[in-house]
């Protein structure tokens, strides 16, 4: 961990050292623990680890005593799937059914239906897409009943331990974290507004960067996020675009507490709107009105203008467009890859052992989600800064986007999928079904050119 503690514990010191000298002993202890949380969340993680392991062992032993097999969810899928193509599969079925030598004349066989039937059944049992939109199931229990779907009463000791955990998390950690979050957000709004009054120049840029950084770091502490940054030499520079995989709104805070970024997003109302308006006074962020978001040319134009100005900070974008549960990376929208700027890919991988950071927006609203985050043990994640990439002359935006996506997936240990994250809410396009039908037609009648007389 870096040792510039003065930046992030500064407001906490200010806050806490103003209590009167004649403190009761308990408050002094509280003060010490608060400082401990602020400065090194790792202590918390180390404390909890042996308890977690004990709890998991106890559950397994309890399961064996009752002759049950402990249900271990497998993220690699529950059924065996062959990665063969439509053509190969159907040819194999036909080959096994006919005694005549295999000639490649296209024709229809009644047995062709077996292929579609089995493929369909396989996807009903286990498909690659729908499981990415709900939280990952864990193999070992992390003392949070919410993340283990198969929680059941096993022993009194385990329940007591879990109850103790609830007490600590809700009565002790939560108020501290809420206080920190409140401090962070209000400092952000007040600080950036004040910086906004200064005349434009180097001093204003310097102050604005550091105000942003300080406030993001306070927010990171408010979530007790323990982050490990790798390859910091590859951090994004001015005039570039930073792309990362998206799991939750916390991704923004995690990245922005280690570098200086310009944000991109839609203008919101309420508290978010207040924060956005304050931030944009201090340094240029790119906020779009709701009506402008639909206009792709306008979006591209504004982003291009921003990256061409080398004095402006790198843009932070999440090309998936929606939150995915951190087991895979889904299709990157090509908009940000058409601009022609250098792309700095970043891979973010959360460790779900202390708290699941995925935001299931169809299940929880933003406030509920933040409360769940603040009542977890900690948010542990790793961030890898990958070497910058530029578009080659012979590839188009989509191929470039896929290349960046593959690099991020490889680094983060995530599954690389071609499916669109928008399938969370929308139906799949008919074009994919038509593609399957076209491939099959070729097997029955061959290509258009050599279609025989009917």
């Amino acid at each position: 961990m870096r040792s510039d503690h003065w930046l992030d514990s500064c407001p906490c010191w200010f806050w806490l050292s103003r209590t009167p000298k004649a403190l009761p002993q308990t408050l002094r202890v509280l003060q010490a623990v608060c400082i401990l949380l602020c400065r090194d969340g790792r202590a918390l993680a180390h404390l909890a680890s042996p308890w977690r392991q004990w709890a998991t062992l106890r559950m397994e032993r309890g399961a064996k005593e009752k002759n049950h097999q402990l249900y271990k969810p497998y993220t690699n899928g529950i059924i065996a799937k062959d990665p063969t193509s439509l053509e190969e599969e159907i040819k194999e079925i036909r080959r096994s059914g006919s005694s005549k030598a295999l000639d490649n004349t296209p024709e229809f066989e009644l047995s062709d239906i077996f292929y579609f039937c089995r493929k369909g059944m396989e996807t009903i049992m286990d498909d690659e897409v729908t499981k990415r939109f709900s939280a990952e199931e864990l193999e070992s229990w992390n003392l949070l009943s919410r993340t283990n779907y198969n929680f059941q009463y096993i022993s009194l000791r385990l329940t007591v331990l879990w109850g103790l955990g609830v007490l600590i998390r809700y009565c002790f950690l939560l108020p501290l974290r809420i206080a920190l979050a409140f401090t962070g957000i209000s400092l952000l709004v007040v600080g950036t507004t004040m910086v906004g009054y200064l005349p434009n120049g180097r001093f204003k840029e310097f102050l604005s960067k550091h105000v942003h950084l300080m406030c993001y770091r306070i927010c990171v502490r408010a979530l007790t996020a323990i982050i490990t940054y790798h390859d910091r030499k590859n951090r994004p520079r001015n005039g570039g675009i930073c792309v990362a995989n998206h799991t939750s709104p916390i991704d923004v805070i995690i990245l922005a507490s280690d570098g200086y970024y310009a944000m991109v997003g839609q203008v919101h109302g309420g508290l978010m709107g207040v924060i956005q308006r304050a931030m944009v006074r201090a340094c240029p962020h790119v906020w779009f009105e709701r009506s402008e978001v639909k206009d792709r040319h306008l979006v591209a134009k504004r982003l291009t203008e921003h990256v061409q100005d080398k004095s402006k900070l790198p843009i932070l974008i999440f090309p998936e467009g929606t939150c995915i549960n951190n087991t895979s990376v889904m299709m990157f929208k090509k908009g940000s890859f058409e601009i022609g700027a250098t792309v700095y890919p970043v891979a973010i991988k959360y460790d779900p052992q202390f708290g699941d950071a995925f935001w299931n927006s169809s299940k929880y609203g933003m406030v509920t989600y933040l409360l769940r985050m603040m009542t977890s043990w900690a948010i542990v994640c790793s961030v890898w800064y990958l070497p910058p990439m530029t578009r080659e002359t012979d590839e188009d935006a989509v191929q470039f986007a896929n290349r960046v996506k593959a690099a991020i997936a490889r680094q983060g240990g995530l599954v690389d999928l071609l499916w669109d994250g928008g399938l969370k809410r929308e139906k799949v396009k008919d074009a994919f079904k038509e593609e399957q039908q076209r491939l099959y037609s070729k097997m029955i009648v061959g290509n258009h050119e050599d279609r025989s007389r009917s």
Binding site: I113, E122, T123, N150, V428, S441, S454
Partner: protein
């Protein structure tokens, strides 16, 4: 672990065929069933199936979904779900219990072929007529083949299979045409664990 009464209640009273599926496999499938059940009312509707993207792009997706729903019903419960999936168990699993007096297991070769036959037989009259074959073919090829060509393919298929001269394929004729095909392997889904 999922409580036993959660799904055993659904399976209570069913024949021994489903009890041949292992406990952990049932648990996994029940977990899958509940994750598909967005309405959380213990049954699946056709929309729940159509929400699976990889199934929605399957040309015969609608026919397969139809196989889960008994005549005239719009909802399928966990028992019905398991019954339909039980057709796809590998045949080797039956070696473990050789009950010659019991009913024929759902995943026998004959029952697997019957499942495929029902995908073709749209009106459930135990015959595949030329019209039905044409409709299923149209689903599989989309707009890529003309009506005349499709018609001649259907005619040729029925001609090769038909033995009793009624210009339709009965189940016995269907089985005869496919007697050499490795149905056991092609219509089976293996669990990883």
């Amino acid at each position: 672990m999922v409580h036993d009464h959660d799904f055993k209640g659904h399976l209570h009273g069913d024949n021994f065929q489903i009890s041949l599926v292992s406990h952990s496999q049932i648990t996994r499938l029940y977990s899958r069933f509940t994750s598909l059940d967005k309405g959380e009312n213990g049954t699946l509707s056709r929309e729940d199936f159509q929400r699976i993207p990889e199934l929605a792009i399957n040309p015969l997706g609608d026919r397969i979904i139809n196989a889960f729903f008994p005549e005239g019903e719009d909802q399928v419960n966990f028992r019905g779900f398991m019954r339909t999936l039980a057709h796809f168990r590998p045949i080797e699993d039956n070696e473990k219990s050789k009950d010659v007096n019991g009913p024929e297991p759902l995943n026998s070769r004959s029952n697997k072929l019957h499942f495929a036959f029902r995908l073709y037989d749209l009106d459930k009259d135990d015959k595949i007529s030329r019209d039905e074959l044409l409709q299923v073919l149209r689903m599989m090829v989309g707009v890529n083949i003309s009506d005349e060509q499709l018609g001649s393919i259907a005619d040729r298929t029925i001609q090769e299979a038909d033995q009793d001269g009624d210009s339709a394929i009965s189940f016995t004729e269907f089985v005869k045409v496919l007697e050499k095909v490795d149905v056991e392997q092609k219509m089976s889904i293996r669990f990883l664990h």
